[in-house]
């Protein structure tokens, strides 16, 4: 009696195992192409990225992962397009099951870029420079890719009163470190002048004048700020 129960349970288990394996195999008739899609320089999500493989497409806005299912096994071309980015094309060999393909999109341009506006703020690390882009209508540009920029500038001590001043002693000249701030909306590109790069008389030299040039693939853009705080703000 006991043996027959054991045999019955074993047969049911083996049968269920076979059924599950069959279903899994049948499901894996197709391949799934999945992976990450991000800006090559910043690692941010690529707005309106359209990923196409074998007549199937998906669109991504804020997500850095994608998946395309039911792709027949074999050779295919993965094509990705997104506004303001270079097209991405890659031949891929799709197998049954999961196929990992990570996509790094290279930025092409900032749309209708006409100029920059800078703002400065003293932070713990140094003087932070916000770089905002504006278009031909004078409006701030919001969605744009990360591009290989370089920044250089000169910082002078501001001499005189707030309404009547002139450039004084030059306290910095040369390249300025750039970094990308994903959390920002308008000013994702930022520069930083570390405190140890400038030597000032903290008692007398409170404000500075900053002149900047941003070198971009779309040309050089200049702007200046006349009220750069040369001191750490106490909070």
């Amino acid at each position: 009696m006991k043996k027959s129960v054991i045999y019955t349970v074993a047969i049911i288990l083996i049968g269920a195992g076979c059924l599950i394996s069959f279903l899994l195999l049948a499901r894996e008739e197709y391949g799934e192409v999945k992976g990450t899609i991000a800006d090559a320089l910043s690692g941010d999500a690529v707005m309106q990225a359209r990923i196409v493989v074998d007549g199937k497409s998906t669109i991504k806005f804020t997500s850095t992962s994608y998946s395309l299912t039911e792709i027949p096994p074999g050779s295919h071309t993965l094509e990705v397009t997104a506004p303001n980015y270079y097209d991405f094309t890659k031949p891929i060999q799709v197998k049954r099951g999961k196929n990992l393909v990570d996509i790094a999109m290279r930025g092409r341009e900032i749309p209708d870029l006409q100029g920059i506006i800078i703002f400065t703020e003293p932070k713990e690390r140094g003087i932070e420079i916000e770089i905002r882009f504006h278009d031909s209508k004078g409006e701030g540009i919001v969605d744009y890719p990360a591009l290989p920029f370089t920044l250089e500038g000169a910082l002078f001590v501001r001499e005189g009163t707030e309404g009547d001043y002139e450039k004084g002693r030059k306290i910095l000249e040369g390249p300025i470190e750039l970094f990308w701030d994903s959390e920002e909306w308008l000013a994702k590109n930022k520069g930083i002048i570390p405190w140890d790069r400038i030597e000032i008389d903290a008692e007398k030299e409170k404000y500075g004048i900053l002149q900047l040039v941003l070198h971009t693939p779309q040309g050089d853009f200049e702007d200046s700020s006349t009220d750069v705080k040369l001191f750490r703000e106490v909070k």
Binding site: R50, G55, S57, T58, I59, F61, T62, S63, L68
Partner: protein, 444 residues
């Protein structure tokens, strides 16, 4: 045995740990997803909703205009209601393309987006609305815009009249005091007759039309279909494939009642089946609202209201569609006419203080100025102690013209000799006691 109890304790501890874990009470992170935004006809009005990726079928009523729109949004799981929620305010991107309608795997129609509006003839909060497309949609929108513009014009005129009225009233008061000072004696009736009349405020626009929307419109005969979105570049958009069930009612046009009991007015009940009896006990005040109703499959209809709802395919449910107005509820007892009751508005007045109760009063504009009625209905007062026995009621359009299927019976649950029930409930205990005593005796 010891091993088993150890294993069991471990499993129990794990389960308890999982259940008390704070992560269970937190919403899952936002995930970008293609969903279908829905504006579906539910038999009486249009209700918005969305179909997340987790649901593979959209249910809709056949032969009616239903609007769907594939969109990319952020979806998160809300554990309190165990439902996926859409964050349309954070991300709401329309996907351009052609919606393909398939039947048995073949494309039978390719749909482009159409202009549409939803028209509420009795205002946005009323219970019925219709969807209009293209030229009709534009016409209904213009009608609403014109009515709104005219209303604002009337408002301006009203403010001007109010200003004139205030000036006239101040002048009237000045004249009145001068006349009194001069020794003129004026009666109250005389003063009231000479007093300037306050202008009435203009009536607002009663109907409402939604702003113009562009969606794919599905107006399909009964059956099962599939939909998918073909992007402008000819590709099929991932996760856009859904099954579609267009269903019809099993029975329609019968009469159902929404019943508001006077002693708990927020707990509405219904009497939908003509063969069903309404049970009451003691003295009751019931407020009835008759409706035309349709009977739908429980699963289909609940999934229509929200694709994440659960339902039972073997069950059927009644849905009240159109309120029946301009009828009388005729109350009878033993076939003898007791009362013909008109529909009337009622106002629920909260009783302040520790009683925390309320009373339902007949609404009148003079008495409750600036307030709207809480509900409307035909008021029935029935009592088991009146000696009239059970009651019947039905609807009459005109005198003697009974609306078919509107008949219902009110039966009173008798409260006499209810103590017998307590005796019956003790019976199993007595049997148990007898068995126990007998067994004890046989052992000893």
């Amino acid at each position: 045995m010891r091993k088993f109890s150890l294993f069991f304790t471990l499993i129990l501890a794990l389960l308890l740990g999982a259940l008390t874990s704070p992560s269970l009470a937190q919403a899952s992170p936002f995930r970008e997803q293609l969903v279908y935004s829905l504006n579906l006809f539910n038999g009486k009005t249009y209700a918005p909703g969305f179909c997340p990726r987790s649901e593979d079928t959209i249910y809709l009523i056949a032969n009616e205009n239903n609007a769907v729109s594939p969109r990319i949004t952020l979806v998160y799981f809300w554990p309190i209601t165990a439902r996926y929620m859409a964050g349309f305010k954070t991300l709401n991107e329309e996907i351009e393309g052609t919606l393909e309608l398939l039947k048995d795997g073949k494309v039978i129609r390719s749909l482009e987006k159409e202009d549409n509006v939803v028209f509420y003839p009795e205002g946005f909060f009323a219970e019925n609305s219709r969807m209009y497309l293209d030229e009709e949609a534009h016409a209904f929108l213009q009608k609403y815009e014109k009515a709104t513009k005219d209303y604002y014009k009337r408002i301006d005129e009203y403010y001007e009249k109010m200003r004139e009225y205030r000036d006239a009233f101040n002048k009237f008061l000045e004249d009145l005091s001068k006349r009194r000072e001069a020794g003129e004696e004026l009666s109250r009736a005389q003063v009231e007759a000479e007093m300037p009349r306050q202008p009435g405020s203009p009536e607002g626009v009663r109907f409402y039309t939604t702003p113009l929307a562009k969606n794919y419109i599905l107006n399909l005969p009964q059956g099962t279909y599939q939909i998918r979105l073909r992007a402008r570049d000819g590709t099929i958009v991932q996760d856009s494939q859904k099954n579609l069930v267009a269903f019809v009612q099993r029975r329609g046009g019968t009469i159902g009642y929404e019943i508001t009991p006077g002693n708990r007015w927020t707990m509405k009940e219904s009497s939908n089946d003509p063969s069903k009896t309404i049970y009451a006990a003691g003295k009751n005040t019931l407020y009835l609202r008759p409706f035309l109703q349709d009977e739908y499959n429980d699963l289909y209809y609940k999934k229509l209201l929200d694709p994440q709802n659960e339902g039972t395919p073997e069950r059927w449910m009644w849905v009240h569609t159109t309120p029946i107005e301009n009828v009388l509820v005729v109350l009878l007892s033993k076939g003898k006419l007791l009362e013909s009751i008109k529909r009337a508005p009622y106002y629920v007045k909260q009783i302040p203080g520790p009683e925390l109760g309320y009373e339902i009063l007949e609404y009148s504009e003079e008495e409750f100025a600036g307030r709207s009625p809480s509900f409307e209905g035909h008021k029935l007062e029935v009592s088991s102690v009146s000696g009239k026995g059970n009651y019947e009621f039905h609807l009459e359009k005109r005198e003697g013209e009974v609306l078919k299927g509107s008949e219902r019976e009110i039966l009173f649950v008798k409260k006499e000799n209810t103590n017998l029930l307590h005796v019956i409930s003790i019976f199993p205990l007595i049997v148990g006691l007898v068995v126990f005593v007998q067994r004890k005796r046989s052992i000893s």
